[in-house]
Structure formats: structure tokens, C-alpha cells
Symmetry: C3
Subunit: 482 residues, 3 copies
């Protein structure tokens, strides 16, 4: 009887007009704008794909290990409804048991599909499943194995390797994120293979500027070893950082990246900084206070800006996230597990010392990011609309989404204009999601620009030029080494 | 002559498509979604209708006493244009003279009708006037008496009693708000009449956890009397609270409710808490500082969460309102007179102690509310999108409005999804406005979901399922005792 | 050959439907509403056009000196892309060399035209260029001289003088901003010419209430000289301020204006205030701390409110801008050069002392402005929706823009209604932009109201009445001296 026949699985498709405005006229204009940007190459200047992936160019593991386990956007949503991280295969720091059956993990993911309704993860995943992996049925409890098989087949294809995907994804330029202590050996390998200008490193000194990191002393020792400069003193520490920046520049780096809890850039007295450094390095463990940690981090943002004036690395500032909000999750599973929560972030006063010193210096460039939307119209757009050194980065992290990007344009453009923004910058460790992310931003920008056209605030030819700039030219310009 | 003929009063109607999107396609889809939720039963888990109303089931007083005098949304708007509270019949604490002529009060209200343009009060009132009271002319100076008479006639009808309206309003479940010291005798009466599972109490300990309440000592004494446990010590105080929670659970309570100025949940040392409690109870009156009041309130939020793990009451947290902003209005008329003003409210750090302790405990559930919209995308959605114990409550108070609810969906959904929200929760002492409030939220959600459908971000069948969940299933799930 | 023929310059036009909503139905209703406000007279109660302009009624200088050099909205955008202030003719404090060739300055401006895409400057400039100056080609590198010539021709016309433009712009009433120490001689001249009630002064005591202004002592001396009251003591200072306020009232002033970093209104003890005043006036220069500066400014806001109860001047409060963020730009070019950056601003607690004292006093009126949008729904609308003395000012500075005004209506209206707002208030030193600014606000309000009509939340006749009130009646009412 009909009622007992198995239901045919829902077909998974992505609509050519997805994420374009619903108003018919606006959609028509947005389509016209989007058509001019849809196939432009991708500039991916803030990437977290591991450089090893490109250097080794090995095939990807199975669907669960590629799409579920490492993506904290995906796993936190399932955890938020009661699943344990262990049940999703997220490794334990203590090596304790976690789910290892990738099919079982993938089933849990597919059974949670409805949790992603209305989220950018749903949007990216649909795009990836259809466009990258050729999946044609909707994920769900009954289709999990089928979807798994379809993806697995694609992963087995010989052209589905990190380097080959650069072409398939039309990635012109991609940056990786590399610790200040990195010897950049993978980048050397890429350079030897002719990919040195296409996959470039980014200098990220977080581990050596935050005095409260458990590994700080070890990282300082390693910094000395890698640079060949004795980091036993503050002067040596600065010299070693300068040496590493030079090594990154030599390896093709265009930018540095700075994740701080606060945007504070107040410099310390050189002697006070030296003393605090010595205390952190040689003093009683734990004797550095939270206020001192904060002061040194602020001081080092200022120092990094000073060095940027010398070597021209573009400075990316990403403040405002309280990392590892739940100690228990952090202790069990380590960082980046979805328990990083934003806090209100102040920029106007915090950046003032840095901007007083370098804000009008033509050798300096900083790109500002935020996860606190309230600062777009109040602080970031006024700052970027005045200081020649500043560009306003694309909506970051939780805000890299259709509504988040729309609100960014609506709240930042009127004061900063389009040309004080960086254009689109993706920020992901999920390699396969990169095309979806760029495509979404181009659609959202097309929709916003189409509104300006139809409200007679911009001509169509201007809107098209602006869209192309936002998708392609502005990221290249913003990240051009000074 | 025509110019001297009285103008016919404007007919009052409510449009079947009110509060649906204006775009014709979007409205069409929204209608389809709304049709599936329009007649669903109401779950009213955060109510402030007095339990006496249901227990005694007396007819309502006249239109002014029902719709104007007790509704601070309504009266504050008239006061904001220069009327005195006295002129609107708002009682004085000192028993001094206020307007007692209900027709006169109602005339003042009707003459102020244009002040409500663009407000949710206008929307709710229109719905109530037409759908609940059968009024057919617009309120205004010339129609005040006619509208009064139409409502009065309806109030006199034998079926227009609190219990009968439960059916007429399709209320499946309604919670009242009851002080920790309540003996729950009205709920006992309702239980005896078979209404115990339909009208349930909510445990609200505010009066006994805020040390600066003028009545605190008296309430502590009463807490002892009601619980039969000596509250002369901190240990007794905790035991008495535990006893009351158990009594509430026995009476059908599903939740507790906590109104705090800040969301801070930092626990104190047990001995320090005991000492502070003793000081507040036995010390020099006024010797407890504001900082101590704050610390004890934070401590007690933590304690309430601990008890919730034991007894399963769902914890509702409502922070961020500075109550009784104007001392003169408070002194003359008491609390809840429209002079409660929100303040910026921090959640990420404030809730951390509570979430560290109970955030991943399957026995714990907290529902978070805010009147500070900036926290939706920055703090609340990331928290609710990670912690399994958390649900994000519906837009509250000033934000329970068409634009407020739309912004909530736009700023919270992308990070929290729909399924980490509580679904709709009304919050009113205006009983007759309950159907209007639920109906409005169903319309706004239908409009938001229709946009996702037309932007090809969600299928229509998914949108309909989500709408039904938001209107009915999610509130039941969120408030299911753990 | 065609490719070498010069391209015809793009024609500059402004569309009759510009800034109206794009939805065809909504545009149709918005047009209907806008038609009723488009030609209403302008009420300009917060103006920064210099009174000398009206008193002397001289022709304007050339296009660059009129439209570029003095407009920090315009110049900061070019500076933000790397131009020096000097290259735009912005004078140096030290009299050092700056560009003096107005054609060259104007060429730099025209070559930067694309920077303004999506900004209100673009919108205002287009309106001005077409409607006020009769320009018919788009500014750009190739058209700069042509546009310059077209404007210059208009400036040379005998009717293009400040007073004549009052009629052309349909300005019924315009306020200037005048220091507390102003002798109001220009206003006397205007009064003698019959313009005393049309161009009125505004009392701005900022220079004499902020103890850290470099010119404070000189201004205090001048205050004594102008008032004829010895300002050597705090009592004399207050008396002198009271005298000046009376002089302003006599000269037709309706309002005072207060630019403060914070909205704090906490009064000091009279004796402490007197002591601090004496210290600032007679003590070691620089001995007044930042905290004392802040405390005195807050105290003086309170005092100004007390005086407003006596003389009826409407109090405009403009807090939340950190002025002259870059010391170097300030040292080189002085204030108002585009480097004023907003900060998060608190109102609920800050205004409480003032509102406790005067908030329900029928003699008092304050109009609140902000550049921190987060306070609209959280603080300002709840305050204005309760206190009869308060009105919520129009979106200010960076927020006086299509999106900014739309968000204001969306976030403030539901709690404050329309009738607790001031209606439109422009705020500009760019005289020629005044009609564009009023026109834009009328269009945005028409669009917002049209949505309410089409969502059946307001009738069309109500929307039209509201639009007329917002454009014309409410500003007159809000600024009517008490």
C-alpha cells in the first residue's frame, strides 16, 4: 500500500538565484551585477587551511573527517542540542575514546540537518554538497549513507587533491596562517614547486605575545632557535620577531594576523616592557597578572605596527573573542571547539595610540575585523573613513552570513564608503567551503548594490564596477604589501 | 451645510494580512505559512495575569480599569506627553486622590490614540478591540463613550470570565508568576477544579534574593513561615528555598523566573554568603552596600541553577532593566509604572560561572531574555549555539513588536538556528492581549520564513514545519521540566 | 576612429523617486505621502551656518571654498584614501603652505567622486549640484573644470546670497550656533533688518564648561566682560551664564546646545563645584584632572537644565563623540577636520540625576541626540516614551543618512512612538546642503510610513498626517520655548 512505500529522498538542488533579493526587479538587477563577478578569481587572504595540505597534496580522508569533525560551525550546533563532542569523533586531549566510525558520525550529522535551517552553514554545505561533491539528495537520517558514498566517491577521484582544487576553485591567491616560530619549510616546498606566489604564509605571533599561554616559554625558546637570536632578553625577543617577519616577507607573506581579546594598543615604556618580559620568562610561574598579560599584548600590537612600517606587512587585527568559554570542553578537547564567545569590543580609544603613531603613515596598513556589529556605524566606519592607513575587513566569523553581510553594508557604507573596506575576505579551515563563501558574498553585495540602483542612489555601471572591486580588486589592493 | 454635519466615525477593522510582508510574492508565501499556525493552541509560559483572576473567575471591571489603568505600555505613552498618572486613575501609594471616573479616563486614552501609531500597543489594542471586544469604531475623542459602551457590553456577557476566555483564546497552558513566599492556595483551588495542569505557577524568588528590597526582612520571615523552616540562618534560607521550589513543583510549576539588574552569576564563598546574609538580616539597616547587594544576587542566581539541576525547574533569566528610574513616580505610584529603563547588559562573562558549572549538565535548562538587542548576534546566539542547556527566549518587553521580532530572527538565527530558541513566549499582565501577541509573532515569523523560502535558503515544507515548531512545539519543549 | 573620440561626459540627473522604496506598491504609497511634505517650509533648529553669512549677505567664494574645503564629510573621505589635508586647501594652524588653487582642489574632489558611492554625501551633493547649482554633468577628472564653471556661474548670480537663499530654500526658521560669550551683534543686525525671528541664535556654552579647553580661562574672562558680571568666582560664573541666557532669549533664541563626551549629569556639591572652579581659574595650569573636567561638565549639564526651567530654553544634548582623535591632524589643522570618532554612550544612568530633578517638570524640555545607534531601542526610546520633558532628536551626524534614518524609525518608533521625537533636525555648516537633507528625510519617512500602511499597521490618512508632523509641526513644537 502507498502508505508503507518508502518515501523517495528529497532531491538536493541549489537554485541559481539563491541569496539574491526576492523582489523581482531587485533580483533582476542583482542578477546582472552578480553575472559580472560570479566567475572572477578568488583572493583568499585570511585562510586557515593548513599549509601541509598544499605541500603534501594528499587525498582527503572520508566525508566525516573532512566535513564534520574539524568544522566547529558544524559540530557546535549538534552539541548545542545535547550530543557530546565524543559522539562526533572530536578527539580528546587525553586520548580517551571517541567515536571512530565515520559513517556513524556522518549519520549523526545528517540526522541533525534541520538544526542548520537559516544558518550560513546550511547555505555553504548545500553549495559544497552539490557543486563540489556532486551530491543529489538531501542529508537526513535515511540518506546519510548514500550522501556519504557520493562524497567518498568524489574524494577518491585523482583530481580531488588540494593543489588541483586551487584551479577548480579558481583560487588565484591563498594565504595560510603560520606561527611566528614556523620554519616555513612547507612554503619552501611550495616555492620549489612553483606555487610560492600562489600559496603564501601569514605571520601570526599570537603564541609569543600572550604571556598567559601555557606554552609561552617553550614558544619563546623556539622563537630563539628558529631565528638564531637569543630571546632571553626583551631586546633579543624584538630582534627575533623582526627576523621572523623578514623571513616571512622573503617567503612571500603579505600580512600579519593578530587575535587579541581587546583592541588595546597602548604601548608600555620600553624598560617596563623589558622588565615584564623578564619576569614572564624567568620569574615564578603564574606571577604575571591578568592586567600585565593584557598590557603586554597591547604593547606588542603597537610594536607590530611599528615593525609593519619597516617591512610593509599588512596588519590584520581580530579582537573581541573570549576563547574557550567552557573550561571543561577546553580541557577535554582543546581549542576551537565552538565555545569561543564574542564580547563587546571598544576600538575608538583602544586603537588611538596606534593610530596617533602610524595612522597617517603611508607605509602602514591595518585591516580591522570585529564580531561586535555595534561598532560598524559607531567606531569602525568613522575610523576607516578618516585614517588613510585603515581598511575595514569583511564581516568575520559569525557575521560571515547573508544577514551579517547585509547589515555590514547597511551600517558601514554610508560613513566609510565602499573603498575603505577590504572587499571580501574569507576565514575558514574548511577548504571545500571557500567557493561557497565567496559566491555568497558576491550575491549579497549584488543584492545590496541592486537596491542602491533601484533607489536611484547609484547607476548600474557604477554598481557593477563596485561589485567587481569588492570581489576582486579591493582584496588585492588592501593586502598589497606596503 | 455639509461642513457642519458630524463626521461619521472611522470604522475600526483589522486586515487579514496585517503584519505580513508587503511584497506580493512574500505575502503569498507568508500567508501559506501563517495558515498552518494561525489556529494552533497557545502556550503561555511567562504570564503575569494574577492567579486570583482564574481562581475567583469574577467578571472584569470596566473598560478603563481593564485596558488602561493597569497597562504601563498604555499609560506611559500618555504620561510621556504630559498627562499625570493621577489623571489616568493610577493609584497613589499614599491613597491620595486620582481620577475615579472610568469614562473620563477612557476618554483621555481615546484622545491619545494617535500617540500609539507605529507601536505594538496600537497593534495589540486594535486586535483586542475588534476580535475580543467587538468594537467597530476607531477610538478618538468623539468615539470614546461609544467604544466604552461596546466594551462594557462585552464585559457583561456571562462567558466573558477568565476561565471561559482560556477556551475562547485557545490557551492550552498558562503560567502565572508567584512569589517564593506564595502559599499557592489559588493554584490549589484551580487544581481542585481540574485546572491544575492548565494554569501553573512559576517560582519567582526576586523578593527574597535582592537584599535592598525594602520588604526583604519581612519576606524572609514570611519565607520561614510558609516553608516551616527557620530562615534565621543562611543554611535555613537555602533549605526554605528548596522547600518552596519543591512545593511549586508539586503544584505543577515548570519554571522559575529571575529578574536581575545584571546577568552576573559569580558565586560567593559559602561562608561569605552566610555572613552577608546574617548582616542583611540582623545588621544595622542600610549597612549592606550596593556591591554586596549585587554580589548576593549573582550568588543566588548560581544557587538557583544548582537547585534547578536537582528539581528540574527551567530557569528564566530576565536581566538588564533599571527599575523605577524616577524616584518621584515610584514614591507616588509604586513599581511597574512605565519608568523601567533598560541598560547595556553583558552576558558572555556574566554567565560564565553558571555555564562552567551547569552549562553542559543534561539536568539543567536556562532560557535567556534581553532588552539589549546588541547581544543577540554578539553573545546570546553564540552561547545558545554552543551550550546544550541554553535556549534563547523570545524578544522581550519593548522588543515584543513587529520590528523587534524581525530583528531578533535576523540577528540570532544565523548563529543559534531556530532550534536553540524557545519559540514564542508572551509576557504580559494584560490578559486580553494574549491572543494578539501570539498572533503577531506567528505573522512575523511567517514573513521571515517566507523570505528564506523566496531567497532559496529554505524549502516551503521546512518553513512550515519550523513555523509550527516556533509557535507551539518549541515552547513546550523549552519549558518541559527536566 | 570611434575609440579615440572623447567620451561624452555622463549626464548628471536626480531621479524624482530617488531614496523612495524600490517595491512598486510601496513606492506608489510613499510618493503619495511624500507629495504632501515635499514643499513644506524648512525648520532648521540646529544649524551651524555662521551668522555672519546672513548678517553680511556677501556672495559665496568659489566652488572649492564653498563645497569642498570647509565640509569635513567631503574632505575626510579623500584624506582616508591618502590625500593630505594640505592638498585640499585645508588651512594649517601655523599658516604653513596649503593648496590655494581652487580649481586644483576641485579637480581632486571630482577625481574622488567614486569614493562617495553609497554615502549621504553623494546623495546631498547630487541634489545640490543639480537643484541648487544647475550642474548637468557628473563630476570626474574630465569634467572638473566644467562643473567648476557651472557652479561659479551660479555663485555670481545676484540672487545667490545667503538671505536670498532663505526664500529659495523655503527656510521658515533657521538657528545659528553662538558661543555663550557672543555679543550677538550679528543677530542684532538681522533683527534691525526684520530677520530677527527667522534667523535665531542658539546658546552654546561648551567653551566655558569644559575646563580642559586651552582657551577656557580666556573665555571665562570674556564671559565676564560680555555679561558685565565678575566671573572670578563660581557664583559670578553662574550669574554670568544666567545673564547670557537671558540675552539670548531676548535675541530670539529658542534653545541651548551642549556637546559633551559623556551624557553624565551628576551634580556636584555647590561648594565642591565652587572650589573646583576656583582651582581651574586660579590654580596651577594643568592641575585639574581629567576626572574633575568630567565631573564639572556633568555638573554644568545639570545646572543648565536648572536654568532652562527658569528661562524656557530647550536643551539639546549631543554626547558621545571623541573629538580630534588624531593629535597631529588637530595640531596642524585644528578642530572639525573629520577626525571626530564616536564612542559607546550610556544614557539611562547618566541622565538619571537630571531626569530625577527636572524630567517631569512642565517647564523643562530636552532633546537627546546620539551617534551610538545601540541606544535607540535600549535607552532613548524607553526614556522618551516615559518622561514628558524628553524628545528624541533626529539621527545625527554620521546617522543623518538613508539607512541611518530608516534604522532610527525602525528601532525607536515602537517604543517612543512618533510623537516623542523631534521631527527632522538638520545639523550642518554646509548651507547649500540644507534642502537636500530635509528632502531626504521626508523621502525616508515616506518610505517607512508607506510600509506601515501596506502592512496594515497604519491608515494612509494617518501616515500623511504623521509625515507632515515629522517634517514640519514636530520640530516647531519640540523647539517651542517653554
Amino acid at each position: 500500500m502507498a502508505s508503507t512505500a518508502p518515501t523517495a529522498p528529497t532531491r538536493l538542488t541549489i537554485h541559481p538565484d539563491r541569496a539574491l533579493p526576492l523582489d523581482p526587479q531587485q533580483r533582476e538587477v542583482a542578477r546582472e551585477i552578480y553575472a559580472e563577478t560570479a566567475t572572477l578569481p578568488l583572493i583568499c587572504m585570511h585562510g586557515h587551511v593548513e599549509v601541509e595540505a598544499f605541500a603534501q597534496n594528499r587525498p582527503f580522508a572520508d566525508p566525516a573527517q573532512l566535513l564534520v569533525v574539524p568544522d566547529h560551525y558544524v559540530t557546535r550546533m549538534i552539541v548545542s542540542q545535547g550530543a557530546t563532542p565524543e559522539s562526533l569523533g572530536i578527539p580528546r586531549v587525553d586520548g580517551g575514546p571517541v567515536e571512530t566510525d565515520s559513517r556513524e558520525i556522518f549519520r549523526r550529522f545528517c540526522s541533525s540537518w534541520k538544526l542548520y535551517r537559516g544558518t550560513p552553514s546550511r547555505y555553504w554545505l548545500e553549495h559544497e554538497l552539490v557543486n563540489v561533491f556532486g551530491v543529489d539528495v538531501e542529508p537526513g537520517p535515511d540518506t546519510a549513507d548514500l550522501v556519504f558514498d557520493q562524497i567518498a566517491a568524489r574524494l577518491a577521484a585523482p583530481d580531488f587533491r588540494p593543489r588541483q582544487l586551487l584551479d577548480q576553485f579558481r583560487i588565484e591567491l591563498i594565504a595560510t596562517t603560520d606561527a611566528a616560530t614556523s620554519r616555513l619549510e612547507h612554503h619552501a616546498l611550495l616555492a620549489a614547486d612553483g606555487l610560492g606566489a600562489r600559496v603564501v604564509p601569514t605571520f601570526r605571533p599570537d603564541a609569543v605575545v600572550h604571556l598567559d599561554r601555557p606554552t609561552w616559554r617553550a614558544d619563546i625558546a623556539e622563537l630563539g632557535a628558529v631565528s638564531g637570536i637569543d630571546t632571553g632578553s626583551y631586546a633579543g625577543y624584538l630582534a627575533a620577531l623582526r627576523e621572523r617577519r623578514a623571513a616571512f616577507v622573503a617567503a612571500g607573506a603579505l600580512a600579519s594576523d593578530h587575535g587579541h581579546l581587546s583592541a588595546d594598543t597602548t604601548p608600555m615604556d620600553a624598560s617596563a616592557a623589558a622588565e615584564l618580559y623578564a619576569q614572564a620568562l624567568h620569574g615564578e610561574p603564574g606571577s604575571v597578572t591578568a592586567a600585565q598579560v593584557h598590557a603586554f599584548a597591547a604593547h606588542m600590537l603597537f610594536q607590530m605596527a611599528a615593525m609593519a612600517c619597516e617591512d610593509g606587512l599588512v596588519m590584520q587585527i581580530h579582537p573581541g573573542v573570549l576563547r574557550d568559554h567552557h573550561d571543561g570542553v577546553f580541557a577535554a578537547h582543546g581549542q576551537d571547539k565552538g565555545f569561543d564567545i564574542p564580547v563587546a569590543t571598544e576600538y575608538t580609544r583602544a586603537l588611538r595610540p596606534l593610530l596617533q603613531a602610524f595612522g597617517t603613515d603611508p607605509r602602514f596598513r591595518a585591516i580591522l575585523f570585529t564580531v561586535d556589529e555595534t561598532v560598524y556605524s559607531r567606531e569602525l566606519a568613522p575610523l576607516a573613513g578618516a585614517y588613510p592607513s585603515l581598511r575595514l575587513g569583511a564581516p568575520w566569523w559569525f557575521l560571515d552570513s547573508p544577514e551579517g553581510m547585509r547589515r555590514f553594508r547597511e551600517t558601514a557604507t554610508e560613513t566609510a564608503g565602499f573603498y575603505n573596506t577590504s572587499g571580501f575576505v574569507d576565514d575558514t579551515r574548511a577548504y571545500a567551503s571557500i567557493p561557497a563563501r565567496h559566491d555568497l558574498s558576491r550575491r549579497v553585495d549584488a543584492g545590496f548594490l541592486a537596491r542602491l540602483v533601484l533607489e536611484h542612489r547609484l547607476r548600474l555601471d557604477e554598481a557593477i564596477e563596485t561589485a567587481v572591486d569588492l570581489a576582486y580588486h579591493l582584496p588585492k589592493l588592501a593586502y598589497a604589501r606596503r
